[in-house]
């Protein structure tokens, strides 16, 4: 059965748009003071897209600089600032809030049949806090930058700091509170606001993964906030915490930093896994294989994520015994991750698969995430990590997880729910083309970096030996393809908001409460409180894809 949304021309059907959350009220004020989770999701979408552009420009300049061994574009000091800006902006101001704050905010109430999140005012406050953090970070970037790397390791951030480390740390400190509020809001919403009949085991898997993510938000984020605050306290008051010259311990900073920042990787990947579960079932029109295993693997990943941080410190002076424990525990994460990958693959088996743009992203995710995950095992091994630590192998590994995984799923999710968000469809052919470009561009950029790292090229240097040039040129060429792949969706998604074909409630004919209400949904989400009587992904009762009006 094809799930492609068929497009028919109805020249006169630009009829009166029904009242929805977008046209219920107009004006800047109605957006800046909105308590509607859907509008807040869009506010986040706009903000993180801007931050993505900033981080992307920094990355582009880095790749341009690395075209030649001696560097073509910037001074080494500026290069340090570029990779620090890229890392900080992309991790804290794009990836962490990407799926949770946009799709999570938009979809959680819709998927569980609620009117809004549990604390709408807190939700809006979280956006304002996030924007404050963003503005402060941008101020730092444009008034001298920061050169510590995104990890803020002392002594780069203490004794040898040349830039405004304190302000940058405060920007992350502030943005962290937005994460905490969002996480708390989601936990309470999922516990308390499910529609009648929406039991825990009828929840879409996206909700399970958002729940696991919210737990990490709440449990982990305060630690990074405290750590960065201590960094500031040490700098301002000269109390010895991390600086050995003052009696502190620099490895203690790394412990506290990674206690949050490793789980933060799962903040990025868990929501992506939730999106992929939705996409795989939707476009193979099949029940997920092993629902409870996929659901509990999210929680298992969230719990184990807090026990593995020491694998970042195998060569940092951490004791061999602690390294041994962290190595063994790190291998454990592979189990629930593999459960998901195998179950998605098993879901595809004998499914009625169609290759719409979101599905292309989902299939890309499975391949790229698997490579990213498996190369993580190399780094979790104590001995191989001694060789690979601090090389481009690490850079390639985490980009396969964060970009090949998290960003691919974010793009897939954005395309899948775009008709629900805007009430209009994007040009499908362009979307498939962009998905393909991104997949090819991504691999061209980052696969050579695995080889570079294996050959010993260290990360975070503006220059490199001449023998590495061809692989670096390949990587930079790939980055330009990748950039084109990101610009195309930006253009057609904005275009579609005004000119895309108008869609009905369920253009893909898929299951889930969000598809039972009109597109875009009314302010109150559902005109009547839905009553859930079946499990998620029951595709035996799925509706046909709807006719799309232009």
């Amino acid at each position: 059965m094809s799930t492609t949304a068929t497009v028919e021309n109805f020249p006169n059907s630009s009829a009166e748009p029904q009242e929805n959350y977008l046209n219920a009220r107009y004006g800047v004020r109605s957006w800046l003071l909105t308590l509607d989770h859907k509008r807040i999701g869009l506010l986040y979408l706009g903000t993180i897209t801007l931050m993505f552009v900033v981080g992307g420009i920094a990355a582009t300049m880095m790749r341009l600089n690395l075209l030649e061994p001696q560097g073509t574009l910037v001074e080494p000091e500026t290069y340090n600032k570029l990779f620090s800006t890229h890392g900080i902006v992309m991790v804290f101001f794009f990836l962490v809030p990407s799926i949770p704050a946009t799709l999570g905010n938009f979809l959680i109430p819709l998927m569980i049949g609620a009117r809004d999140v549990a604390f709408p005012r807190l939700n809006l406050l979280s956006w304002y806090i996030f924007v404050t953090g963003c503005l402060l970070m941008l101020y730092v970037v444009f008034t001298g930058g920061i050169d510590t790397g995104w990890t803020f390791y002392p002594p780069y951030s203490s004794s040898y700091a040349h830039t405004d480390v304190f302000l940058a740390a405060m920007a992350i400190f502030i943005a962290g509170f937005s994460s905490i509020l969002t996480g708390m809001n989601f936990v309470v919403t999922i516990h308390k606001m499910r529609a009648p009949g929406m039991t825990w085991f009828r929840l879409p898997l996206f909700i399970w993964s958002m729940y696991a993510t919210a737990l990490i938000f709440v449990l982990g984020t305060p630690v990074i906030a405290v750590t960065l605050l201590l960094l500031g306290v040490e700098k301002l008051l000269h109390v010895g915490i991390f600086d050995p010259a003052l009696g502190g311990d620099p490895v203690l900073f790394q412990h506290m930093f990674w206690f949050y920042s490793h789980p933060a990787v799962y903040i990025m990947i868990l929501p992506s896994m939730g999106v992929i579960s939705e996409l795989i079932t939707a476009f193979s029109r099949k029940r997920i294989f092993g629902y409870s295993f996929v659901a509990f693997s999210s929680l298992a990943i969230a719990v184990i994520s807090f026990l593995v941080w020491g694998h970042h410190m195998f060569v940092s002076g951490q004791s061999v015994y602690a390294g041994l424990i962290f190595s063994v525990l790190s291998f454990l994460v592979a189990i629930p991750s593999a459960v998901k990958v195998f179950n998605w693959t098993a879901t595809l088996y004998k499914g009625s698969i169609s290759y719409e743009a979101p599905m292309l992203y989902a299939l890309g995710f499975i391949g790229l995430f698997t490579i990213g995950g498996l190369t993580g095992l190399f780094l979790a091994s104590l001995s191989t990590d001694v060789h690979l630590n601090g090389t481009y192998f690490v850079v390639a590994h985490f980009h396969y997880v964060m970009v090949g995984g998290a960003v691919m799923a974010y793009m897939g999710g954005l395309h899948y729910w775009w008709p629900k968000i805007t009430g209009r469809l994007y040009p499908d052919l362009w979307a498939r083309f962009a998905a393909l470009i991104i997949f090819v561009g991504f691999n061209l950029t980052f696969f050579p970096q695995f080889v570079l790292g294996y050959l010993g090229m260290p990360r975070r240097y503006a220059m490199y030996p001449a023998e590495f040039q061809s692989l670096n040129v390949l990587s930079s060429a790939g980055a330009s393809v990748l950039a084109v792949g990101y610009v195309i969706p930006l253009i057609y998604l904005i275009w579609s908001m005004k000119y895309g074909p108008v869609v009905g409630p369920n253009p893909f004919g898929t299951k889930g409460l969000e598809w039972t209400t009109q597109s875009p949904p009314p302010t109150e989400n559902f005109l009547r409180t839905p009553i859930v009587t079946e499990e998620a992904y029951n595709y035996e009762t799925a509706p046909e894809p709807e006719v799309v009006r232009v």
Binding site: H191, K192, P196, L219, V223, D249, V251, L252, H255, M256, F259, F306, L307, W309, G310, M313, G317, Q318, S319, V320, Y321, A322, I325, F326
Partner: protein
């Protein structure tokens, strides 16, 4: 005692909040002030290795008062306590695993004591 009751007609949950008398809040506030004064005084006394222990003990007592009374954990059961215990457990994870590094950093790969024991035992068995 807070109680959660289901309103069958509307399906909403009504939460009855426990009203804490102002006098309780004031007593806790005074207790916290006294503890703060104590912390300040202790900071000027040299207790050697006990400096940190005493300071942390007072801090934990203060935090307990805040959590129990100001944050109403004393009057809430169920999920609220699960959340509190979960948070403390997570703090425990961070401290335990960090100490697993700090305390074993100076251990040798093969501690002297093992070889000291193993070599004579092997000699005894083999020769």
């Amino acid at each position: 005692m807070a109680s959660h009751s289901q309103d069958p007609a509307h399906g909403h949950q009504q939460v009855e909040e426990h009203i804490v008398p102002v006098s309780t809040y004031l007593s806790i506030f005074v207790a916290l002030l006294i503890a703060t004064a104590l912390t300040t005084w202790i900071a000027f006394q040299d207790l050697g290795n006990w400096n940190v222990v005493v300071a942390l003990t007072i801090a934990v007592c203060k935090a307990t008062l805040v959590v129990l009374f100001f944050m109403h954990v004393k009057y809430n059961k169920g999920l609220t306590r699960v959340v509190l215990i979960g948070a403390l457990f997570w703090l425990g994870i961070m401290i335990t695993f960090t100490l697993s590094d700090e305390l074993t950093r100076h251990w040798e790969i093969y501690p002297q004591a093992w070889t000291g024991m193993i070599v004579p035992v092997m000699r005894h068995l083999l020769f």
